[in-house]
């Protein structure tokens, strides 16, 4: 029942937001060309949370870099709100967070969060300070604005890293295994928090992960990627974040979907 509701919710949103069209990418290693991802096509609607699951080295991170525009694909194209990648100004559109929080130890939490704004233009910095403080509060980092990263726990570092990704109000948030370096308890509590944060910030999310539970729990849709060269093997409609709370993780239908996805990996 809830599943069909979720499908209706996502399909009600208009216009393709992000289109990955027949994207392939090869890189050369010691003279030979290695196919990282092959003929990938994904459509995504605004407000959607999409996960890409696959084993390590299947090209998930490469795909994410292609979507962000950091890497140019050898074949195919990316359309972002109908505009080809490369013709748009990246920073306002995309926020990026990685497995490693990558906070800079010489900057305080607040300075770290504001870094993308500082890179973009120092003049606009003051317009973002209010929003940065808002994010700090939403992410439960209040009181740590002036702390340095070494004073924070792994979970808090990851929260700060997410705040940094969100500070420019991106339309699309790209997450590369952001929770995989955390312990299970911290990870699950972040899952629950982040679900409501994504909703609050009205951001669409592409999440790359090797945790099936994470993908099923957090996303509207899960794409399963094959080992190198990475291809999208199958797509699943998963659990919408509206109903996400800890008990879901132990529900029978949740576990069954995880099991089915596992069988395709």
């Amino acid at each position: 029942m809830l599943l069909t509701e979720s499908r209706r919710k996502t399909s009600a949103v208009s216009a393709p937001f992000l289109e990955v069209k027949n994207v392939s990418h090869a890189y050369s290693l010691k003279g030979s060309s290695i196919e990282a991802v092959e003929d990938i096509s994904i459509g995504m609607r605004k407000g959607e949370v999409l996960s890409i699951v696959g084993a390590s080295g299947c090209g998930k991170s490469t795909l994410l870099k292609i979507i962000s525009g950091i890497t140019e694909p050898t074949k195919g194209e990316i359309l972002f709100e109908g505009i080809p990648q490369g013709q748009r100004r990246r920073i306002q559109d995309v926020g990026f967070a990685f497995q490693k929080a990558s906070l800079f130890p010489w900057r305080t939490v607040l300075q770290n969060i504001l870094l993308p704004v500082e890179i973009k233009s120092k003049k606009t910095l003051k317009h973002y300070i209010g929003y940065a403080h808002e994010l700090i509060e939403i992410l439960g980092l209040s009181g740590f604005e002036g702390s340095y990263p070494r004073e924070l726990s792994g979970g808090m570092l990851q929260r700060a890293s997410l705040a940094r990704a969100l500070v420019v109000r991106p339309k699309l948030l790209l997450l590369d295994e952001p929770f995989s370096a955390l312990d299970e308890i911290t990870r699950e509590s972040l899952w629950i928090d982040f679900n409501s944060i994504w909703k609050d910030c009205e951001v669409s999310v592409v999440l790359v992960t090797h945790s099936i539970r994470e993908a099923v729990f957090l996303s509207d849709r899960v794409c399963v990627m094959s080992p190198r060269p990475g291809r999208i093997m199958k797509e699943f409609h998963a659990f919408p974040f509206l109903e996400a709370h800890r008990d879901t993780l132990f529900r029978k239908d949740f576990l069954e979907l995880c099991k089915e996805i596992r069988s395709h990996l």
Binding site: K65, S68, G69, I70, R89, R90, I91, V94, F96, F98, Q99, K100, S102, F104, P105, W106, L115, P116, E118, I119, K120, Y148, P149, R150, L174
Partner: protein
């Protein structure tokens, strides 16, 4: 918390005590061996004689030490700045790196004492040749450590900066350089003691003043007590240089 602080204090006192006891044993043994054996004071002076040099000829030692300090300090500043600048250039231009790095490595392999006479021939027996030699020897550790430090930036932060469309200058100043600072400072610490060696070696070859000059001239006259005092002074200068850089490091690389 309080207990912990006490432990730290106890630890320090214990360390200091160990050092003092060891030194006392060492100097007393040295003094007794020299006094009660047939070794001439001209070959090995007792510690008391060396101490006497510090008391009676303190001015002489100080003035010559000051000369060496100035030479080493200027040489260090020039060599270290050149090392950091060239490393920066290497990061921005691969061609420059490919063209110059082999020369830098080759020059590094040449022993300092082998080029010292040439440097003194070219730049004279005054202060300049000492500064040049101190600069040459400080240059390499700073260059190598800075290049390594600037290249050690992890791929994830770089991808982040790329996703923000940062310019290469922004990547350098806001990411690579701060990332490299710990490594740059290890280079600077090595170079700081090297600079003193460079100045002293140049003074050996030809000089009118400086601690190297004192060491050399005192051995001519078999004033071994003065030689020993000068050796101690040269070590103290090296330690002081190292300490100054370490203090600056703690301020600059505060997150370590």
């Amino acid at each position: 918390m309080n207990m912990k602080r006490n432990h730290v204090a106890d630890d320090r006192i214990a360390k200091l005590l160990a050092f003092v006891v060891m030194s006392a044993v060492f100097f007393i043994t040295w003094e007794s061996i020299v006094r009660f054996s047939s070794i001439s004071f001209l070959i090995v002076p007792p510690p008391s004689a060396v101490l006497r040099v510090f008391m009676t000829r303190g001015d002489y030692l100080f003035n010559n030490a000051a000369q060496t300090v100035i030479e080493a300090a200027f040489g260090f500043l020039i060599g270290a700045s050149a090392g950091i600048l060239l490393a920066t250039l290497f990061i921005f231009s691969k061609i420059v790196e490919d063209a110059l790095y082999p020369y830098a490595i080759a020059l590094k392999a040449v022993p300092l004492v082998a080029i010292a006479p040439i440097v003194v021939t070219w730049f004279g027996t005054g202060i300049l040749s000492k500064i040049v030699l101190a600069a040459i020897i400080s240059f390499f550790p700073v260059l190598v450590n800075t290049v390594e430090g600037l290249k050690s930036t992890e791929p994830e932060p770089i991808a982040l900066f790329e996703s923000w469309s940062a310019s290469s200058w922004q990547v350098f100043t806001k990411l690579r350089l701060p990332y490299a600072l710990p490594s740059i400072f290890s280079g600077l610490k090595i170079a700081s003691s090297f600079a003193v060696i460079g100045a002293v070696v140049a003074e050996f070859i030809g000089a009118q003043a400086g601690i190297g000059h004192v060491i050399k001239s005192s051995t001519y006259f078999l004033s071994t007590d003065v030689t020993f005092a000068a050796i101690i002074v040269s070590a103290l200068i090296g330690i002081a240089f190292f300490a100054v850089v370490s203090i600056i490091e703690r301020k600059v690389v505060f997150w370590r």
